[in-house]
């Protein structure tokens, strides 16, 4: 039986995890939205410049591509918090309902492992780009600075899944998301 002190400690630990999760979610939401707005603004300014004034903004299209890539890849992690990733439910009934919480938790652990594996693979890829000193064709920036969002997004998603394993109450309700 859990004592009051143990329950208090568990509650405090859970609170810390919830605060950590909230901070991660807020930061990635801000970055996603900012990247999306910046990309849209760059593209709009370029098109207005070209169509109305006869000259575009140098590199605007590339900036928009990078911004949208950041928004989309960090969006992968954002969707984890929203429970929005497409998930085929066709096999769900093969598992008895009483095992649902266990399977969900195991599934989150597996998702965390996959995401962290992708983060490591991405990190190796970015290191490769860094070592050969590759630059953007249009903009004077090293490509690895943009590519860093790949390991970051996968790592954040992996961390979130781990938090769901440790504190299932943080897990969002599954929602569908489609075209």
């Amino acid at each position: 039986m859990q004592t009051a002190a143990e329950a208090g400690n568990a509650g405090a630990a859970g609170g810390i995890l919830a605060v950590l999760y909230g901070a991660i979610t807020r930061l990635e939401t801000f970055l996603c939205f900012a990247a999306f707005i910046a990309g849209t603004a760059a593209l709009f300014a370029d098109i207005v410049g070209r169509e109305l004034f006869g000259f575009g903004i140098f590199g605007a299209q590339r900036i928009a591509v990078y911004c949208m890539a950041v928004a989309g890849v960090l969006g992968f992690s954002y969707v984890v918090s929203q429970g929005g990733h497409l998930r085929p439910t066709i096999l769900d009934k093969l598992v008895p309902a009483r095992l649902d919480p266990l399977v969900t938790r195991l599934g989150d652990l597996l998702s965390a492992a996959i995401c962290l594996g992708l983060a490591v693979a991405s990190l190796l890829f970015v290191r490769g780009t860094y070592e050969i000193g590759e630059y953007s064709m249009t903009l004077p920036i090293p490509i690895w600075t943009v590519q860093t969002m790949l390991p970051a997004a996968f790592a954040i998603a992996g961390l979130k899944y781990l938090l769901f394993v440790l504190r299932p109450a943080l897990r969002p309700v599954q929602a569908s998301s489609e075209l």
């Binding site: 989309g72 969006g75 992690s77 954002y78 991405s122 998301s177």
Partner: protein
Amino acid sequence: MTGVAIGLGSFALLLLRQPMVLVLAVAVAAIHQFVARSSSIEFLIQDFWFTIDRDVLLPIPMFILAGNIMSRGEIAQRLINIMVEMTAGIRGGLAVATILACASFAAISGSSIVTLAAIGSIMYPALLREGYSKPFTLGLLCSAGTLGILIPPSIPMMLYGIITDTSIVKLFMGGIGPGLLLTLALALYCIKVAPVSARGSFSARRFAVAVGRGGPALLLPVILLGGIYSGFFTATEAAVVSLVYALVVEGFYYRDISPGDLKEMLGETVKLFGTLLPLLALAGSFNTILDYEGVPRAMVGWLGQWIDTPLAAGMTLNVVLLIAGFFMDVGSAILILSPLLLPLMTAQGYDPVHVGVITTMNLEIGYITPPVGLNLFVAMGVFKESFVTIVRGALPMVLVMLVPLLITTYWPAIVFFFVR
């Protein structure tokens, strides 16, 4: 042997409730590591990066956001008002107005569920009040909502264009003829079977007033399609124009959205884009490895023994995609199957644009077929009706939708009429 292991692994992942994107990631990583020659997991990430680092992706988030803005604001209501006045005096007029409203909304939104939710939430109670049965109304809304991905702009067509290197502008133009044909087929079906007789009579004055009030809403499809057709806009420019126009009309003309609404819409957009982009990137990697290993060529050679006429190829494409539509979402089906099926079709003389339109039409039907027809689930959520009632209404519409599909498959002129 490795293929069986990958298949079993994917099954186990699905059993452990993994999202589609992670199942695909593991499967493609395993193919890179264990099947492909001179490859490793690192190449998966490299392909992932090359897919997302492309200008051609830019219209997708723009059209998603524009669609979200238009579905929340007044544009849908204004379009409906015009269509209701236009069809007054016709038997089944309100049902026909619903189809026309979906078709016109589809011309500014690239999404089926956005079209269904935007038009359906307004028309569902109106159709029931008019005496239409629940199953008929639900089937009508679900099927007309699918026009959202056939009439340009269309997010699935953009995905097809990116994954098969086909011109998105040509795909958009190719979708117009079949989109109008499907609109006509659904409208004729409604006139024929509608249980409701003509409502009032047509009034030119009322129609003119509705057009006057809904002018800005009606103008957007004209600007968009006209701009693309004339070559004045690229797909990216059309997407930006659509977004800015939607913001200006809803924010300043109809004054129907607030900054708070915008934040919510941005969240919805990032959510959908964040779902799609990794799927697209992983499918891009899968496609690269297939191509590198010569799988499409081998498959065409093998299947070519049996599928050796355009008639058989068209039938095969339709059957494969209709079955895929039963079980897969549109995005995954396009991204995974298109690179495999396209070489088979081009070997029999089909144009990639034609194949793209046929693919979209097939998967459009998948939106309203159980067990995973997405419009059926959206309708359950939006209209609070049972799955069985919705399916009962949707199934007759599937038969109606098969007719334009077959016409489009074997009469390419309808696709190429607007393609320049």
